[in-house]
């Protein structure tokens, strides 16, 4: 099979991360860029996110998802970036061999000089949360239901219960209601809301949809199609409280129980994954441990705001293009060990950190963003600290810590100076 070695950068996934990466990769040094997307249109998940909440930072505007995507698509249209739609990448090797397939061009083999992984994420499934009961029709993950309602144009049911108070679940609660279905309740295992509070108001409260915290689904009834579910309350250790079981008659159960980075290709390429994010470990250039492979967006870890996804995509695209040009002139990249850097691991009240490694050279006035996902709910002023052996290296204050909201810190020059002084070490990020 012949190999196509024309491309400097191949971007896998044309969602917000991939679109931004493809544009920046071209802009960096007029690289030869190919953007590959498995759907028949651009935008990734955005075309089905028809609610607003996108673009506050990037465009100073509170846009619906599809409109945010269109802004990038329009930028892309003016550039000589090649696009393959309806195309699946089935394999990626550590040597950057990419195998793609579609009905019109067949099975193809590429070997670009750099790759950007931007495949986004998938949803946690019913089996992964070990939900007992039948395997009837009428059980959907929220994202699949969203695609069916908004893109294919079909309603999965009439009387719906949603498990999970994450944003996707709350958004769908409102969406189903707007389209004439009845959402009987939203159930949440934890004792607190896992999505944004504003979505609680504008998706649940405004539409009189009840939310039940510390409650989960115990069993699904109905052999062919869902006929009902049994709910049960849980205690502070998330154990079922016997005697609190209740039956709710419904025909649909929608699961909004977590998002996981889409890492089939990352694994195939030998990319090292972070068990905290379930996505690739990346540095401040969005580089993974495999030379030439970069990762940005939800594929690296779940973000809350698409604006930061686009920004990460830009960094990845630019870094990939720079790497590709270095390969082209066969210039040796500076040995990794020589570059001044720090690694960051999650500590107290922090679930995960992206990037896991920060380099301080080649900044050229670029900003470095530190993204931290809290795993505790602290509704008070908190201190976020990066420390080395219990000694504080750098800290800043935040107004609260909520698992539903990533803490994003644009590193200031004095932050960078402090971190540089701890160069070559592993820091722990903690919230107190």
């Amino acid at each position: 099979m012949e190999v196509n070695t024309d491309y400097d950068v191949i971007v896998i996934g044309a969602g917000p991360a991939g679109l931004a990466a493809a544009i920046e990769a071209y802009n960096e040094n007029k690289s030869n860029v190919l953007l590959i997307e498995r759907n028949d249109s651009l935008g990734g998940i955005l075309p089905q996110c028809i609610h607003n909440g996108f673009g506050a930072i990037k465009f100073g505007n509170d846009l619906p998802g599809p409109e945010y995507a269109v802004r990038y698509e329009e930028q892309l249209r003016d550039l000589p970036v090649e696009i393959m739609l309806d195309t699946m990448v089935v394999d990626l090797t550590p040597d950057l061999d990419i195998y793609t397939m579609n009905s019109t061009q067949g099975y193809r083999h590429f070997r670009p000089r750099a790759v950007v992984l931007a495949m986004g994420c998938r949803e946690r499934t019913r089996s992964q949360i070990r939900l007992p009961g039948t395997r009837a029709a009428g059980i959907y993950t929220a994202g699949t239901a969203q695609r069916l309602v908004n893109i294919e144009g079909y309603m999965p049911g009439n009387e719906i219960v949603i498990l999970g108070s994450g944003d996707v679940g709350m958004i769908m609660a409102r969406r189903f209601t707007i389209e004439g279905a009845r959402v009987l309740s939203v159930l949440e295992l934890l004792p607190y809301l896992t999505g944004l509070r504003r979505n609680f108001v504008q998706c649940l409260q405004d539409y009189d949809i009840p939310l039940h915290l510390s409650t989960t689904v115990n069993k699904i009834y109905g052999e062919r199609r869902v006929e009902g579910i049994e709910t049960v309350k849980v205690d502070e250790h998330l154990n079922h409280i016997s005697g609190t079981e209740k039956f709710i008659k419904c025909d649909t159960l929608v699961l909004s129980v977590g998002l996981i980075p889409e890492n089939e290709l990352s694994r195939k390429a030998g990319v090292q994954l972070d068990p905290h994010t379930n996505g690739p470990i990346v540095d401040s250039d969005m580089a993974t441990n495999v030379p030439g492979i970069y990762a940005a967006g939800n594929v690296a870890g779940i973000y809350d705001l698409v604006d930061y996804v686009s920004m990460a995509g830009e960094v990845a695209g630019r870094s990939a293009a720079v790497w590709a040009s270095k390969q082209k002139v066969a210039a040796k990249a500076q040995a990794e060990e020589e570059r001044p850097s720090i690694t960051i691991k999650p500590g107290a009240n922090v679930g995960s950190v992206i990037p896991q490694k920060v380099y301080f050279d080649d900044l050229d006035g670029r900003d470095i963003y530190l993204n931290m996902r809290p795993n505790a709910l602290l509704e008070r002023a908190v201190k976020v600290e990066l420390s080395l052996d219990s000694e504080e290296i750098m800290s800043f204050r935040e107004k609260y810590a909520r698992p539903a909201e990533m803490i994003i810190r644009k590193l200031k020059p004095r932050d960078i100076d402090k971190l540089k002084a701890a160069g070559g070490h592993e820091l722990i990020a903690g919230i107190s």
Binding site: R38, V90, Y107, P132, R224
Partner: protein
């Protein structure tokens, strides 16, 4: 007026037993039909079990179970190359933990030898642990049964069913037997949801409902089938693997909770054993899940619920037939109270492995009743399954897409199932007309995302190929539609 369908032989039930019998009878110059109440073959016990070709050491000597098990084991290895059924001769280990269990290995060995099982031997603790390093350190020894194997349970049904269909057997799906016509002590016809069907011989292979068929004709009024549920966990293939099928020592409840790898490369644990009321209730229970985790951990301590990708439950057809001087056994007989009926009832474990032997026995019973079985000169024993894109080399993939662009479109990302395979499943000798039927044939939706990506694509293909609307597509037949209405229409 509908023409009443008439055949030489009608088989009730298209599980592994019914399908193997159909294939066996398709060799002969007979008109044969299979009546199946579901929308596809193998939707009952046959596809929700441990998928093991047992060696035959376990059944009580002198029973039909023992005889059919051992003969069936032999026949499976002969049949699979003809029918392209995935089957691996992994061997099995019945593991003893502690001196009492260790002592129990010897009578088990003897029993197996009495049943005619070959290759049995007792292994030392060291040998066992070197074969299976994941086993508990408390193991004291094991009985090795090298003739045991693992099979793709659904292909084990689809293989003979498709081969039978290719050789002229008519499969009538969505046909539930609802009544019988007995005249002059002979079973002349059955009433089904698809109309009446007449035959000279009826074969009752109705699995969990085989007692109901008997009672309809007034045979064996005291014979009852209870549904005995067995639950299973399937693990991600990256979690851990075992090479042999690993059993605990057997108890009165049965062979116990085992640990096995599947032909698909996943690891599976289960089943437990609990009698339930409702013959249609395939739900998995929380207590069941704890039970099998605890049971499996006794053998392989590292098993963790973290890596579970799927759970399912099967219902065993546990009959209460006991031949004189023995424990519970299969009820395989030419009916003594009504003419024209052969009964294959109470076929639970080792039913699956016994299937080809039972089919052979049915032919024997028919001959014994004077039925002439003349071989067809053009009988074709071979059948091939849908080639998996996932298993093809880069060059093979390139070629198949070039020949047929439908193979260029991925429908299931995790299992790399293409539209070409989905189309083959829909347009096969036993057509797949539901999502689950496609899933059983292609493994789509069985990976990490469990259908999240492939649902919309698969539904669209089904709707297009079958000329149905999206709101008519079902998961597993009538009553299991996916979509209620279009987004803007028909608000209740």
């Amino acid at each position: 007026m509908n023409k009443v369908k008439k055949f030489d032989v009608v088989i009730i039930g298209a599980g592994v037993i019914g399908s193997m019998v159909a294939r066996e009878l398709s060799r002969y110059k007979l008109s044969v039909a299979v009546l199946e109440k579901e929308v596809d073959v193998g939707m009952g016990q046959s596809s929700s079990n441990s998928a093991i070709i047992h060696s035959g050491h376990d059944p009580e000597p002198g029973t039909m179970k023992a005889r059919m098990n051992v003969r069936g084991n032999e026949l499976w290895y002969k049949i699979v190359p003809e029918l392209d059924i995935p089957l691996e001769k992994t061997g099995a280990l019945i593991v003893a933990v502690g001196p009492e269990e260790q002592a129990g290995l010897y009578p088990l060995l003897e029993q197996g030898q009495k049943n005619g099982v070959s290759g049995l031997e007792i292994l030392s603790r060291e040998d066992v642990l070197s074969l299976e390093p994941h086993l508990t350190g408390d193991v004291t020894g094991a009985l090795s049964t090298p003739t045991a194997g693992i099979v793709d349970a659904f292909q084990g049904v689809l293989g003979p069913a498709e081969n039978a269909a290719m050789n002229g057997v008519e499969f009538i799906l969505n046909a539930e037997v609802q009544g019988v016509v007995v005249e002059d002590g002979t079973l002349k016809a059955v009433e089904t949801s698809q109309g009446p069907v007449e035959a000279t011989w009826f074969i009752n292979a109705a699995g969990i409902h085989s007692d109901e068929i008997l009672h309809m004709v007034g045979d064996h009024p005291d014979f009852h089938i209870s549904a005995r549920r067995g639950e299973y966990f399937v693990f991600d293939s990256s979690a851990f693997r075992v090479s042999n099928v690993i059993f605990p020592m057997p108890s009165e409840k049965g062979k116990g909770i085992l640990v096995t790898t599947t032909t698909h490369g996943n690891t599976m644990i289960g089943p437990n054993s609990n009698v339930i009321e409702d013959k249609e209730d395939h739900s998995v229970t929380e207590s069941g899940m704890s039970e099998i985790l605890d049971g499996a951990r006794r053998l392989v301590p590292m098993i963790s619920p973290r890596h579970v990708i799927s759970t399912f439950a099967g219902l065993r057809a546990t009959g209460n037939y006991k031949p004189p001087g023995h424990g519970k056994d299969f009820l395989l007989e030419v009916s003594k109270s009504v003419k024209g009926l052969i009964t294959l009832a109470g076929v639970e474990s080792p039913g699956y492995v016994s299937a080809p032997a039972i089919a052979e026995y049915v032919a024997e019973m028919l001959r014994g009743e004077g039925v002439v079985l003349e071989e067809k000169p053009d009988w074709n024993p071979k059948r091939s399954r849908i080639p998996r894109f996932k298993d093809m080399s880069h060059d093979e993939r390139k070629e198949i897409i070039r020949e047929n662009p439908a193979y260029g479109r991925i429908v299931c990302r995790c299992e790399e199932v293409t539209e070409g395979e989905v189309l083959q499943a829909i347009h096969s000798p036993i057509p797949a007309t539901t999502y689950d039927a496609i899933k059983r044939r292609t493994w789509l939706g069985t990976g990490r995302c469990q259908g999240s990506f492939d649902y919309p694509r698969t539904m669209e293909i089904l709707a297009r190929e079958l000329g149905m609307s999206m709101t008519e597509i079902t998961k597993k037949g009538p009553g299991s539609v996916f979509l209620y209405r279009r987004t803007k229409e028909g608000v209740v």
